[in-house]
């Protein structure tokens, strides 16, 4: 489903070397960069993305630049392709049979759909938090450590678990019961555990697919606060059906809509304030004022 395994293994060996070279160069550049507050760089550059499920087109020709260390929200009525688009950024759609994707997703100047790319490594660099909290039926500790273990983490695992849980604002609640099953936590805690799990492999970008839709208002607020905090270290793309949430947490907002042909297209993309206070497109205005969707 993800292509020929052995071939990819061979190719990855080559690209690993190239990547190793890239790290030092790029890291050096990054170190001299100013505080991201000024003008953020581009973390993800989507160019003309179209997607088909079998014969049926779901996303039509979307181009979008996601700014680094910012929260970018994707909004739109259900069925507009926003979750599908989100899953293009970490090649999650590859897991579905019969999906075809055209266009490019550039992350740090490299197309993640280039033929020699390894999807599992894309996903390591682009983490994901899902709609419904989905901790593994393992201990809290093992949930967080899972990704690091399989990716050959050589540092101190205990420290990594603590650091990730702290960043996910869960450490204080669970530090005495790390051996407890992740399923024993409340819904909001589970979702923060999933966030800790995602950031434990040190991604640059974290995708969140309606992360609060299964949570109560208090848990929702904690996750929203967390998103803004995480934006200091990560680039965050969040899909939400809740316009207030988009307005509260995001710096930029993209509005998508599937019209009569049921193909999801990008209608408007701009600073969040701009979208909500001064939308350029009449359809955006209709949506945010609650006239449909």
């Amino acid at each position: 489903m993800v292509g020929n395994v052995t071939d990819e293994a061979e190719r990855t060996a080559a690209s690993a070397a190239a990547r190793a070279a890239g790290v030092s160069v790029q890291a050096g550049v990054r170190a001299t960069e100013p505080e991201p507050a000024a003008e953020p760089g581009i973390a993800v550059e989507m160019r003309n993305i179209s997607l088909w499920y079998g014969q049926k087109q779901a996303v039509g020709n979307v181009s979008l630049d996601v700014p680094r260390n910012r929260v970018t929200a994707l909004i739109g009525p259900s069925g507009c392709g926003k979750s599908t688009l989100l899953r293009c950024i970490n090649r999650m759609n590859d897991l579905i049979d019969g999906v075809r994707i055209e266009g490019e997703v550039m992350i740090d100047g490299a197309n993640i759909y280039a033929p020699n790319t390894e999807p599992s490594q894309v996903r390591r660099h682009v983490g994901m938090v899902f709609q419904k909290p989905n901790p593994f039926p393992k201990s809290i500790y093992d949930n967080v450590a899972f990704g690091a273990k399989i990716n050959g983490y050589t540092g101190n695992m205990d420290d990594l678990v603590e650091e990730s849980l702290t960043k996910a604002a869960l450490w204080d609640e669970v530090k005495h019961e790390l051996k407890k099953s992740g399923l024993a936590l409340s819904g909001g805690q589970q979702q923060r555990l999933c966030i800790a799990r995602a950031i434990a492999v040190n991604p640059e970008i974290v995708l969140m697919d309606e992360p609060c839709s299964a949570l109560d208002p208090i848990a929702t607020q904690r996750i929203e606060d967390l998103m803004l905090e995480l934006a200091n270290d990560y680039t965050i793309v969040v899909v939400t059906h809740n316009m207030q949430q988009a307005a509260r947490v995001s710096h930029k907002t993209a509005f998508m809509l599937a019209e009569d042909d049921l193909v999801g297209r990008l209608i408007e993309f701009s600073d969040t304030d701009e979208i909500f206070l001064n939308p350029q497109d009449s359809r955006t205005e209709e949506y945010i004022t609650g006239r449909f969707g």
Binding site: V5, T6, E8, A9, E10, T12, A13, S15, A16, A18, R19, A21, G22, V23, Q26, A27, V29, R30, A31, I107, D108, G109, A110, I112, A114, N116, T117, E118, S120, Q121, V122, R124, H125, A148, I150, N151, G152, Y153, T154, G155, L160, V201, N202, E204
Partner: protein, 309 residues
């Protein structure tokens, strides 16, 4: 990808993904799983080939027409074929109505509660009881007419078709009930509501609406259960299905033999000719089983089209 690692995380160098090693492990694992799947397929192919090679020699009309004999070239399967036929019909006539009745009770009548739950648990436990234990039950209850204490219940049926059929019916009852329950459960509740809505009683609803819808599924399950019964040997050995029967049964009280018992009888003899005869018998038995299974599968597909499931 080359530049994806650009973020400055201090621990970036701490990850050593070793991808090509992981992919090699994955490929090996895939190969192992595929090989495991093929073990069963290859074994089945070998078994069928082996049986065909041994048994094809005796496969002619006389084999189906002759009765068992001390001389392999004259030995045949007729009494076993007829015995199996008698037995399977008896089993079906007993197991089908009782099984469907029990399923209707459990799905449509039974109150939610301890008794119903106990019956349900009991059915799934019965399905796991070794068949030979059913044979012992049949031997005491149906052949000898006693449960060991108290007076004998009318003396029993002796080593007859009815005793064998009753034993087999009890053996496959759990399978029939579970299959029937699943079919009945698959009938949409809206249909029942519609029927009650026009004033039908419970039984009228079941008889006129639920059962006709569930019927094909029940039939499929029953045929599969019967195909299990037709291959069963151990319980019938227990109730003493004779291993040398040189006549066709004429009534339910006649002694009988069946195909798998005749096969066992031939396998157990030392002469290689008889073992080849056993293989011939196996060919006939397997053909019969496969056709029953084919009917069940066709029935399932046909109803699948009919109800759009």
């Amino acid at each position: 990808m080359a530049a994806t690692d650009m973020q400055a995380g201090a621990d970036r160098g701490l990850y050593v993904p070793r991808l090509s090693f992981r992919h090699k492990k994955g490929a090996a694992f895939f190969a192992i799983c595929l090989a495991g799947t093929l073990v069963g397929v290859v074994f089945l192919a070998f078994l069928l080939l082996d049986v065909w090679r041994d048994g094809a020699g005796f496969l002619r009309w006389e084999f189906l027409q002759n009765f068992p004999s001390r001389f392999p070239e004259r030995a045949g399967f007729q009494s076993a074929l007829w015995g199996s036929l008698w037995l399977i019909i008896t089993t079906a006539l007993l197991a089908f109505p009782i099984g469907v009745g029990a399923a209707i009770y459990l799905e449509e009548y039974a109150p939610r509660g301890f008794v119903t739950k106990a019956i349900q648990t009991n059915i799934s436990n019965l399905a796991g009881v070794p068949s030979i234990v059913f044979g012992i039950l049949g031997l005491q209850l149906f052949v000898r007419g006693t449960i060991g204490i108290g007076p004998s219940i009318g003396g029993g049926f002796g080593r007859s078709i009815i005793a064998g059929g009753a034993t087999m019916a009890l053996l496959i009852l759990p399978i029939v009930i579970v299959a029937a329950q699943e079919s009945i459960r698959a009938v949409p509740p809206s249909l029942r509501e519609a029927s009650y809505g026009v004033g039908a009683t419970r039984w009228q609803t079941v008889w006129h609406h639920v059962l006709p819808q569930a019927f094909p599924g029940i039939m499929t399950g029953t045929i599969l259960a019967l195909s299990r019964a037709i291959g069963e040997t151990a319980p019938l050995i227990m109730i003493g299905a004779l291993t040398f029967v040189a006549f066709r049964p004429e009534s339910l009280l006649d002694p009988f033999t069946v195909m798998p018992i005749q096969i066992y009888n031939w396998v157990a003899r030392p002469q290689p000719e008889f073992q080849d005869l056993a293989a011939t018998g196996i060919i006939v038995l397997l053909v019969m089983l496969l056709s029953m299974n084919a009917i069940a599968v066709l029935l399932r597909q046909w109803t699948g089209r009919r109800y759009g499931r």
